[in-house]
């Protein structure tokens, strides 16, 4: 009998009775009617009959999606990087080759942008860390907890705006008739405008402007989790401000530093529009090199794919080494 009561359709949760009194013989809602339908009962009964079957249904779509949508494009890119033509013209055969990778090492013009991208990304990651750490520290430790959200939100607003609009804002800031040059001239430091634009400097300012948030948020959440009592205890034991930071705060926020740096490094290797708009011929980054193979006829795609694979694997390897190093640092600190 209790079993019967449990499955009685149109009762309890299915009929919205909790919303207030209804006319006698409670009206069936959409869900009530749906559950009462024999076809529905049959389908759900077969599909979700046991917890095992429920899990199988639940897991199938994600697995298919992840394999075909998240992994598929990367695997296809790897495949294309290993063939001699793609898309292959009708009537031609496709062959496996390593020539696309060999081309990178054969032609010197590709190596410079590659190294420049990695060095840029590494340096900018470090600079971003130095700039945002004090900001995150101030937010997490000095601002009252009720106000933290407002202070954080203030910083988030500009970061909602996309890559192009923010890059454009930097162009206006740094141009020959830009705000910085005007200010310098007005202050009497310079007579003619300083050529900030189309240099490594303008790209750096632009990319830091784009990525600072990805550093700020992990740092903030690491610092926020750190109990104030830790540094207070260190202070009671006579540690000065610098010692407290070096021996307590810094070691305990290494995890936040590691994830912030990983994110910023990976993301800054992938910017395309910012270097195109803010850079010049002497600051070509690898993203522009890769893109070049996709603007022209299709037969260059394999080379572009190979270069993209090289870039991604190198960037991932570097972040893996970096993260290993950071973990070791953490363990050493604990001993």
């Amino acid at each position: 009998m209790p079993g019967k009561a449990e499955t009685r359709p149109g009762s309890g949760i299915l009929s919205d009775e909790q919303d207030g009194p209804r006319t006698a013989g409670s009206r069936r809602t959409f869900w009530g009617a749906l559950v009462a339908a024999p076809l529905y009962q049959q389908v759900v009964g077969t599909l979700l009959g046991s917890p095992r079957r429920q899990f199988a249904i639940l897991v199938t779509l994600p697995v298919i999606w992840l394999l075909t949508q998240h992994l598929g494009p990367m695997l296809q890119m790897l495949y294309v990087s290993l063939v001699d033509s793609y898309p292959t013209a009708p009537g031609h055969e496709r062959h496996f080759t390593l020539d696309n990778y060999a081309r990178f090492f054969r032609e010197a013009i590709f190596v410079m942008p590659f190294l420049r991208t990695l060095v840029f990304a590494a340096v900018l990651t470090f600079v971003t860390l130095i700039i945002t750490y004090p900001v995150a520290y101030f937010l997490a430790r000095h601002v009252r907890r009720d106000n933290q959200l407002v202070f954080l939100l203030l910083l988030l607003i500009p970061f909602w705006v996309g890559e192009i609009v923010r890059t454009f804002a930097i162009m206006i800031l740094l141009g020959n008739n830009g705000a910085v040059n005007l200010a310098l001239k007005w202050l009497g430091f310079i007579d003619r405008p300083v050529p900030f634009m189309y240099t490594g400097f303008s790209i750096s300012v632009g990319i830091i402007y784009l990525t600072a948030l990805y550093m700020l948020l992990p740092l903030y959440s690491a610092l926020e989790k750190l109990p104030k009592s830790y540094t207070e205890a260190a202070a009671d034991l006579g540690a000065g401000a610098w010692t407290r930071f070096r021996k307590v705060t810094l070691p305990l926020t290494l995890e936040g530093i590691a994830s912030g740096c990983t994110l910023v490094f990976l993301i800054s290797t992938g910017y395309y529009a910012t270097p195109v708009l803010l850079g010049g011929p002497s600051t070509t980054v690898f993203a522009e090199t890769i893109a070049g193979f996709f603007h022209v006829a299709g037969d260059q795609w394999p080379t572009g794919a190979a270069f993209a694979c090289l870039m991604f694997v190198t960037a991932l390897a570097l972040t893996a080494v970096f993260n290993r190093f950071m973990t070791q640092l953490q363990h050493r600190g604990r001993k």
Partner: protein
């Protein structure tokens, strides 16, 4: 903490606020300049650039096109991201770590690499560059963000809610739609707006997967390359205000939920 360090820290914070806001404020100001020539100083002001933007069919078309792409891709991302979150939260099974890692993957792939990987993949499936291809790439790219936001909310759902629904006769499907989904609402609103902004502002995927019709960021990019005019400032300023308002709304929606309301 001494007063000296405190003051120094607050100076750094406000310096940072100035750093992130000043370029955008200058950009907005330039949109009111009464001259075709971008640059300081601004001596006279006008609203012409704005009236011109709202009458420019090319800009309006690009805006609508970007909105359609944003809404469509967000619908896919929300559905898939929520499904994966439902699978991952509160369950331990073989391969859970792999599924989590694979879900996060698109967020970690550098922009240009993700864009060309999708360009190649679209070719494999015979999808021509254009709206469909862009929606597809945006949808995949945004799934990780939905999964993370929805998982955070789902983890706070008391199991008793679900049990109560089952006791009252709901099968798992009904329990999901009538108990879990309403509970997830703030997370879905927050994640949805977040995805729409990511899609609307995305350049690199839209650029490599687009056909002849430009999305708004691609149009601004093209205009920037062919020569600057305060009209671009007016367009960018409109985008800025819209994005900021929606962003704050999404952020509030998500913060409120973390407080447990």
């Amino acid at each position: 903490m001494s007063r000296g360090t405190r003051l120094f820290m607050s100076l750094i914070y406000w310096g940072f606020v100035v750093y992130v806001f000043v370029p955008l404020i200058l950009m907005v100001m330039m949109g009111f300049k009464d001259s075709k020539f971008i640059g300081f100083p601004i001596t006279s002001w006008t609203l012409d650039w704005y009236t011109r933007v709202f009458a420019d069919a090319e800009v309006l078309n690009a805006f609508v096109y970007s909105m359609v792409i944003a809404i469509a891709s967000t619908a896919f991302s929300l559905a898939v991201g929520t499904w994966i979150a439902t699978l991952l939260v509160g369950r331990s099974f073989f391969g859970r770590g792999i599924i989590f890692g694979l879900t996060i993957l698109p967020a970690l792939i550098p922009g240009i690499i993700s864009a060309i990987a999708f360009r190649i993949y679209a070719q494999l499936w015979g999808v021509a560059p254009g709206m469909g291809a862009i929606i597809w790439a945006h949808a995949v790219h945004n799934v990780p963000f939905v999964m993370l936001v929805v998982s955070a909310r789902l983890a706070t759902l008391p199991p008793s809610y679900h049990d109560a629904a089952r006791d009252l006769g709901a099968d798992p499907v009904v329990a999901f739609f009538r108990v879990t989904l309403p509970y997830l609402k703030p997370a879905l609103i927050g994640a949805g707006i977040f995805c729409m902004l990511l899609s609307f502002d995305d350049f690199v995927r839209s650029f490599f997967l687009g056909g002849y019709k430009p999305t708004l960021p691609v149009l601004i990019f093209a205009k920037l390359r062919s020569g600057m005019s305060p009209e671009i400032n007016a367009i960018s300023s409109v985008v800025l205000v819209l994005t900021a308002v929606l962003g704050v709304w999404a952020e509030r929606s998500m913060r409120r939920m973390s407080k447990g309301n």
